[in-house]
Symmetry: C2
Subunit: 216 residues, 2 copies
């Protein structure tokens, strides 16, 4: 068997990588998927991208900056899911609020490692990323808008909307983190998947904040 025909104009390992920055982010996401965010190594991301150990530092000042770029990509995907869920939700404030929470939990369950990067403030530099800060601000604003509208309609069991919003976020973030941190081995209900338990718990919280069973 003779030598293979060369692919036409095959770039024979060019000295310059096409888009090393994007390749490093993709490689890091792959590692995260396989072994978790803490296991991401600049050296391995470089190896997977086919470059030397020092090359990444041309594009990121340090490992944290690389992880922040990874978090931005994860957040972009998260946001897309949130937007889709909201677009599909009915036009009633509390139903929209509920849909927001469900999308959040669903995302965390299906993308545990991405969720981890996003909330791993010890691996990323949150404040240095305009995208991360702005995007989170917007999500907070969506929650706020839904809650304020619900309050205007007289659908909330409390007038303290500000702390209610924090309680709701704490509940949803707490559930997601309990799942990610492995607490459901102890906290889960027998015969109920973690996903179902989380959805039920969020549903109960929604009932409480509405001051009674839905449709009251």
């Amino acid at each position: 068997m003779p030598t293979r025909p060369a692919r036409r104009q095959a770039p024979p390992k060019p000295y310059h990588h096409g888009d090393l920055r994007a390749a490093l982010v993709a490689a890091s996401l792959a590692i995260i998927e396989e072994r978790g965010p803490e296991q991401v190594t600049v050296r391995e991301a470089a190896k997977r991208a086919g470059v030397s150990s020092g090359a990444p530092f041309r594009h990121f000042p340090n490992r944290t900056a690389l992880m922040t770029a990874v978090a931005e990509e994860a957040q972009r995907r998260f946001r897309a899911e949130i937007d889709a869920a909201l677009a599909a939700a009915p036009n009633e404030p509390l139903a929209r609020f509920h849909a927001l929470g469900e999308a959040y939990l669903r995302w965390a369950i299906r993308n545990p490692s991405h969720f981890r990067v996003i909330s791993a403030r010890n691996l990323i530099d949150y404040d240095s990323s305009p995208y991360l800060t702005r995007d989170n601000d917007e999500i907070r604003a969506m929650m706020s808008a839904a809650l304020i509208a619900a309050a205007r309609n007289g659908n909330l069991a409390t007038s303290d909307v500000a702390h209610l919003q924090i309680a709701a976020r704490a509940c949803v973030y707490g559930l997601a983190r309990m799942y990610i941190d492995g607490h459901f081995a102890q906290w889960g209900r027998a015969g109920e998947t973690a996903e179902a338990t989380m959805a039920q718990t969020l549903g109960l919280f929604m009932e409480l904040l509405a001051g009674g069973p839905a449709g009251e």
Copy 2:
């Protein structure tokens, strides 16, 4: 100035450390206090305990086992705080439940790094520690007992006690983690300390689960 007088019977760096195991746990706690759990290094713990880099592996099979021992010590202190809070609480189920949550939040705020070790399932081997598993089981049982008693008294806004307990834990764990993960920079309320915001939010949650303002 002549040589110092020797301390009487000064053990001149004995070859055998008195209790290296305890010394390593203490050294790790000190490092955690200074730089966080992820920064604990077996080598530095060894150095602080005054032994060589390989010595710790006589007492712990690996870094995770050391961190698990550290988590056990942190959990012991946490449990002491919980017990004290419960002992001081009035004899009314919901008040006791509330006190439990407040003690949890107070502990997390005052001992953020210890809280981190306890919930850092990626640094410790939770299941291998009978102390950790048993202690958490007991705390869950305390929550359960208070909630069931409250339900018997007709003080709960829902009959789904099981999911209510999970919601309560998610709320409190979520608040603690938001604090530890630095989310209060965005989620905090202007002119209110994080501690106050967390207490207010827990208070609101307690009102919701009781189906109205306290004493209804």
